[in-house]
């Protein structure tokens, strides 16, 4: 009974939940249809309708049930799958292959993703140029567009980008949910510092070699997007590394540990996003007066962002991606979304409503294109 009452603090009535969903409904409608739904092409119209309903139903349930993570995760995982599907489908149509050739590199036709950003910082500062074979404007995945998206999302959401905006995160988030209980329970929290080591390494190696070394050698998501055509021992080695890291850090370890191991141990952009958590307006706060120190939040955090010491000090670490898993797990509602400057334990609902609107709106619109394209592709198989 006590638990139900506590959870009820964020849960809303049906009517109130509908009311809270209305702004999301209107904005996503405008973005997905341009204000003018097109019913001429049936698969396209259906794809838009399904995507539109999906995001709004998920957002409604976030308010109606008071739970965040499970509904966020559904869209987040669909985003990751649909992005890979769209990218691969696009490449198969354009190049007849998932791999890119030397001429694609020479003609700067490689789509730019946010994971390149850490490696472009030093060369951009010293040579005033981007060390990536992509296009600055226009084409598929232009550099300027991705940088604008990432900069604004990171300022507003901080490391929340890793759980609400990253189109790769859904892969290991998804695999981390396969088992009900983890097979491996004890992992040293020190590993969470590993992305900073990777960040320094890739920044330096990229600056010295003028090559996006993370993308060229260690990005696990090359396995589900695009990679260099295997034509030599070097390119075969790279392909082997991509597949091994994807299998190990994105599939097997998350499934065994229930943690997002790629995001926790490898991603260099995650390290930068952790730093931006220091300025973002939205945080996760611990209301020490309500906390009974059950440490469910510590066990459930997929990114090692909360330790027992953090609970005692009443502060969530800078590694927090605001996924909401700990917030959902807390039966006392002691851990909650908050706003910088507002004391823990106050304005809980207001902070949650505002954060959910901002973060979910970003994910809904950012993911809409690839989700609609994926549904469209699937529907075309039927019609």
């Amino acid at each position: 009974m006590v638990n139900e009452l506590k959870i009820g603090e964020t849960r809303k009535s049906f009517g109130k939940s509908l009311l809270y969903t209305l702004p999301m409904f209107l904005i996503t409608f405008m973005f997905m249809t341009g204000g003018r739904p097109n019913f001429a092409d049936m698969p396209s119209a259906l794809a838009v309708l399904i995507a539109f309903l999906l995001v709004n139903v998920l957002y409604f349930f976030m308010h109606f049930t008071g739970k965040t993570d499970r509904y966020r995760a559904i869209l987040f995982i669909i985003f990751a799958l649909s992005l890979s599907y769209t990218l691969i489908h696009n490449m198969l149509e354009v190049r007849n292959s998932m791999s890119f050739s030397r001429s694609d590199v020479l003609e700067c036709k490689i789509p730019f993703c946010h994971l390149v950003i850490p490696m472009m910082i030093l060369p951009a500062a010293f040579t005033k140029s981007i060390i990536f074979p992509g296009s600055i404007l226009g084409g598929f995945g232009p550099v300027s567009e991705m940088i604008v998206l990432w900069v604004i999302a990171t300022i507003v959401l901080g490391r929340g980008f890793c759980s609400w905006g990253c189109f790769y995160g859904g892969w290991d988030d998804g695999f981390s949910r396969l088992r009900k209980k983890p097979l491996v329970k004890k992992i040293d929290g020190l590993w969470k510092w590993m992305p900073f080591a990777v960040l320094i390494m890739v920044m330096l190696t990229a600056a010295l070699s003028f090559m996006p070394t993370y993308c060229s050698w260690i990005c696990p998501f090359k396995a589900v997007t695009e990679f260099e055509k295997v034509t030599s021992i070097e390119s075969a080695t790279k392909a082997g590394i991509f597949l091994s890291l994807f299998g190990g850090l994105v599939v097997v370890l998350p499934a065994m540990t229930k943690k997002r191991t790629q995001c926790s141990f490898l991603c260099p952009l995650g390290a930068i996003n952790s730093l931006s958590n220091k300025i973002t307006p939205f945080t996760v706060k611990i209301d020490k007066s309500a906390c009974n120190e059950c440490y469910k939040c510590v066990d459930t955090c997929p990114l090692f962002a909360i330790s027992r010491d953090d609970i005692k000090s009443g502060k969530v670490s800078t590694f927090c991606s605001k996924c909401g898993k700990c917030v959902d797990a807390c039966s006392k509602n002691a851990i909650h979304y908050g706003i910088r400057g507002v004391p823990a334990g106050t304005l809980k609902n207001f902070s949650r409503n505002l954060f959910l609107f901002v973060s979910f709106l970003f994910m809904a619109i950012f993911s809409a294109g690839s989700i609609i394209a994926s549904f469209h592709g699937l529907l075309k198989l039927i019609f």
């Binding site: 904005i27 973005f31 050739s101 030397r102 001429s103 590199v105 020479l106 003609e107 700067c108 030093l122 060369p123 951009a124 500062a125 010293f126 040579t127 005033k128 140029s129 981007i130 060390i131 990536f132 074979p133 992509g134 296009s135 600055i136 404007l137 232009p142 550099v143 300027s144 567009e145 940088i147 604008v148 998206l149 604004i152 999302a153 300022i155 507003v156 959401l157 600056a207 010295l208 003028f210 973002t280 307006p281 939205f282 706003i339 910088r340 400057g341 507002v342 004391p343 902070s351 505002l354 954060f355 609107f357 901002v358 709106l361 970003f362 619109i365 950012f366």
Partner: protein, 149 residues
Amino acid sequence: MKKVKIIAGITWAFSGLILIIILFPGLNSFSVSASKLPFMKINPRYSGGEIAKQIIVDKCTLDIRKPVFNGLFKERKTGFVQMDWRGSLPGLINDSIDYDQDGKKDFSISVDRNNSKTILKPFSNKVGEINISTATSYGWAVRVALVKP
């Protein structure tokens, strides 16, 4: 002080809300503005460098790009020069190149497009080997390694 912090925090949070709401409708214009930033150009190691000379013969164009030696702090000792052939190309491309525009030919290059066989004949010790020789969507591209004199 506590009240100031709360007001500042909430103002910052609402600013975040506005930023996200205007982000997507304004993405195109933001991207265009961002593309004008001083560092927003593709490094010549990837783009091939600026076009230094263009030679047009019949319906075929040869672009000889500026040699690329750029490094992080200063120019490197090794680099490359890129040539692009565009338009309706013959089966066998044969050209002599003066990449540094000093009036002397630095190397000759011959590309058999049917079997991608590329032969380089250097006329100076500044010229190294062929880095890349590949068909492109616009024709053919070759990169030749260079050593700084």
